[in-house]
Symmetry: C2
Amino acid sequence: MATLKDISHMLGISVSQVSAALKGNSDVSEETRRRVQAAAKSLNYSPNLSARKLVSGRSGIVALVVREHEGLTRDATFVETVAGLSRQFSRRNMQFVLHIAAANEPPEQTYGRLIGGGSLDGFVLTEPEPEDARIAYLQAQGVPFVVSGNCGSDSNFSFYEIDNFSVGYKLAKHLVENGHRRIALLNGRAGLNSAYQRQAGVEAALKEVGVDLLPELIRNARFSESYGLVSLTQMFSTEQIKPTAVVCGNLSIAHGVYRAAEAIGLVIPDDLSVVAHDDCLPHHKVQGFAPNLTVSVSDLSASWGPLADLLIGRIEGKALSELQIFVPVDFIERASVAPLR
Amino acid sequence: MATLKDISHMLGISVSQVSAALKGNSDVSEETRRRVQAAAKSLNYSPNLSARKLVSGRSGIVALVVREHEGLTRDATFVETVAGLSRQFSRRNMQFVLHIAAANEPPEQTYGRLIGGGSLDGFVLTEPEPEDARIAYLQAQGVPFVVSGNCGSDSNFSFYEIDNFSVGYKLAKHLVENGHRRIALLNGRAGLNSAYQRQAGVEAALKEVGVDLLPELIRNARFSESYGLVSLTQMFSTEQIKPTAVVCGNLSIAHGVYRAAEAIGLVIPDDLSVVAHDDCLPHHKVQGFAPNLTVSVSDLSASWGPLADLLIGRIEGKALSELQIFVPVDFIERASVAPLR
DNA sequence: AAGTACATCCGTAACGTTCCGGATACGAGA
DNA sequence: TCTCGTATCCGGAACGTTACGGATGTACTT
């Protein structure tokens, strides 16, 4: 509640001098600085953000916009993203607002409405798509943003990108080396860059032995346990060609696959080899799998901090070259893959 | 980006007139109001929140503060609360910020830091406790807030309260009427008002037939499936007295209990009667239970809208008497309770 | 004709901060 | 003595908005 004016009255010096003393970067004597700091503490002063934002043009508020959809709140990635970003921005004394946009509202409109308010400094975007309308719009508007996820290397914006091509490639390569050729891919939602990249990786590994990825063994959907469960069950209940191995987009899917395999009576890895990508989210831990799951791994929860820093850097106008992070993925062989008999 | 000044230049009228026209409550002719609104739309005007906050004292930003803890992101109630409030405030053109506070930071300090900035209009509090330090602090500071949950009827603040005493009473009463006396209570986290209330309700129902709730049959913990699973398993694996019926705090716990019962070899309801409170969150649906679960029910997802309205009313200084909502609970008998043999 | 009432508008101040040009004082160098 | 540099400070102005006292014009009353 105390203002700069209160301090200036108390000490008999000007408001601008108090302001300068508090930021410490300007010309003010060592003694007045001490007096000002003491007074500020005694009056329990804290700067009025609105006033500061009014003159600086910044609000200290950033937002994540997600599209409303069925099952949103059961989407582990969504939940972790919200919590992770909130934690990181809170820690940096910024406000993180979550905006859940109506499903039928076009993204440009949502973002337009939000940036119109003039109270948002920037955005975090997730799940980028090819030719992403949001990215085009925000770039055109000159609004700072950072993208979490794959978007092609020649991008002229800030991003934190996981090497999803390698995810697909490393997982499929390992299966191929074990003799597998009929590989199923339970991938992410169709239209996602990350899903394209992973599929490309899988295809590349198969191509090296002259084999194509069969369209009927590809599935695309939002990550969930039931998606894995249903997909595998279907693949083994039809008269179609059956896979000898399956690549799962994340641990939820893998969990569904394990359950389906048990129900159908398939033994992993003897009857079916399974690999997955582990993004280290707490909802499904890799320790819960028997037999132990062979995975590619990249810790998504390590991304929220860098993501926050990237966006702040962007807002402060840092050079783009410092604001692009590319994360390699690890590969850990365990016990869920067997050589094809 | 457009300001009131831009509009005033464009139309040749004063800034104050434009401001008045846009809020509509002051003296401005019908024609100028139309012209101003048209101009505002064409310039894509939207008010600068920092400036508005500076003079009016309001920012249009509200916050939910939650304490960091293990398993936070797997807490269905937390997730639904965040998503639900975010949706409702977005819809009302307000910003909803989620703040995840460090576990070791005392609440007063967190709230003090946030309100010190002067850019927050109010707070939503969840999971109130007796003698809640947050409530005391915010009341002392005169900051608007609304409490979601039980807090005693004579409160002089705004709340949305579910009749948790009735939850305990109705569930236990039904069990008692079926002859049960050794009733287990898998309740919420110790220290929560809601948990106290529910326990009081259960005790009241038992007292009517002259029986006490046995301390060894009471558990307190955060709601989760594993909590239900483990608790029931423990109760039936020790040499202690075993319950003939169990009251579950929510559907997650009930689910764990069902799984544990199956594993132990108990048939519901023949060997064990089960009742639960259903708060209608999408993570666990009551349809997923076999045999069908007898429940008390109150739709938590119906609370986010009223909660938003209550907080807004509080910020706008409405009378407290209009800002206190008390929600009764329903009781639905299904097939998970059998008369004690 | 003068006064009153009302509708409609304007100008200015204020909110709390930062930025910037310009004061003031003092000592050093010419 | 005059100029110059430096260290330290002050006084506005500005950011975009709202609140408020007052101005203007019109119509109606007496």
